[in-house]
């Protein structure tokens, strides 16, 4: 469901930012919700970045500790591809 409402959510938060910055509409609950939504999206991005980076580091670490791992083998597989 979030995929379907994702676009309106991002558009709504951007619209409120533009409205408040241009001075067209600077107060009210709608603006507060829009700005908080933008900050919430930024917070989710931080969590996603930390999660993705940690996950990739874990995978890389696991791959290196695997008994069959060797840089020469990886290079030969890449060469075959």
């Amino acid at each position: 469901m979030i995929e379907k409402i994702g676009f309106p959510l991002v558009l709504f938060s951007m619209l409120t930012i533009v409205l408040v910055e241009t001075g067209i509409w600077t107060s009210g609950i709608v603006i507060t919700i829009g700005l908080n939504l933008a900050i919430l999206l930024v917070l989710i991005q931080i969590i996603a970045i930390l999660y993705g980076f940690t996950k990739s580091l874990t995978i890389f670490n696991k791959a290196q500790r695997h008994p069959h791992y060797s840089t020469a083998r990886t290079a030969s597989i890449n060469k075959e591809d």
């Binding site: 995929e3 994702g6 991002v10 700005l35 990739s56």
Partner: protein
């Protein structure tokens, strides 16, 4: 199972991680200072002095990453030549055509023709907006606002106020550029909940074929149909 193709180097992954983290922290600590009546709870939660301190540390982080990548790029150009940067990073006539075509297809005036190179016009636009707005303009204005009293003897007060307005205004522009990026890599129906390409550095062959056909043909040597 599709083969994976290398799209980003480990250097690019690390730079993206550090720059993105710095930028996100800058938004969270900077935007509430602009709109305390709407986002004052963040300042109340952390404390104004701490918010300002974290904002300066994150700004220093972003500038450091930018300087590092600039030095890296200069060394890379000296060693490998300018071809990579000219072909991949700088916008070219193909990007303008793609931009026009994509907009016409949104308006329903033309059929969409996806034939992107390694980076599409949107991705090039994003990286250039980060370089120009976030790193150069925000960096310079941020350094001046970091210690305005040191520049007070050189710059008149009106100029310092203008710099403050520029810094705040462009922060909003920058946020409006990052939010669609958030949509494209997290909320889009093809990527939800998140795209892992920027962390693993690889992309599946199928995805490369669909999203970056020109680049795919070039790396595989496939002929154009």
């Amino acid at each position: 199972m599709y083969n994976q193709i290398e799209r980003f180097t480990s250097n690019q992954i690390t730079v993206h991680f550090l720059a993105a983290m710095s930028l996100m922290i800058l938004y969270i600590t900077g935007i509430p200072q602009l709109y305390p009546e709407h986002l004052g709870w963040i300042i109340d939660l952390i404390g104004l002095s701490k918010v300002m301190f974290i904002h300066r540390i994150a700004g220093f982080g972003l500038i450091s990453v930018a300087v590092y990548y600039l030095i890296f790029s200069i060394i890379s150009i000296i060693i490998n030549g300018r071809r990579y940067y000219e072909k991949i990073i700088f916008p070219n006539s193909g990007d303008i055509l793609d931009y026009v075509n994509d907009n016409l297809s949104i308006l329903g005036l033309e059929q969409q023709r996806i034939d992107y190179d390694k980076y599409s016009w949107l991705e090039k636009g994003l990286i250039w907006s980060v370089i120009l707005i976030d790193c150069i303009i925000m960096g310079i204005t941020g350094i001046i606002l970091f210690a305005p009293w040191t520049f007070a003897s050189v710059l008149p007060q009106s100029t310092l106020l203008t710099i403050k307005i520029i810094h705040a205004g462009l922060a909003i522009v920058s946020l409006c550029v990052i939010l669609p990026h958030f949509y494209l890599v997290h909320l889009s129906q093809f990527k939800f909940p998140m795209s892992n390409t920027m962390f693993t550095g690889t992309i599946s062959e199928e995805e490369a074929q669909e999203e970056y056909p020109k680049w795919y043909r070039e790396i595989t040597g496939e002929k154009y149909d």
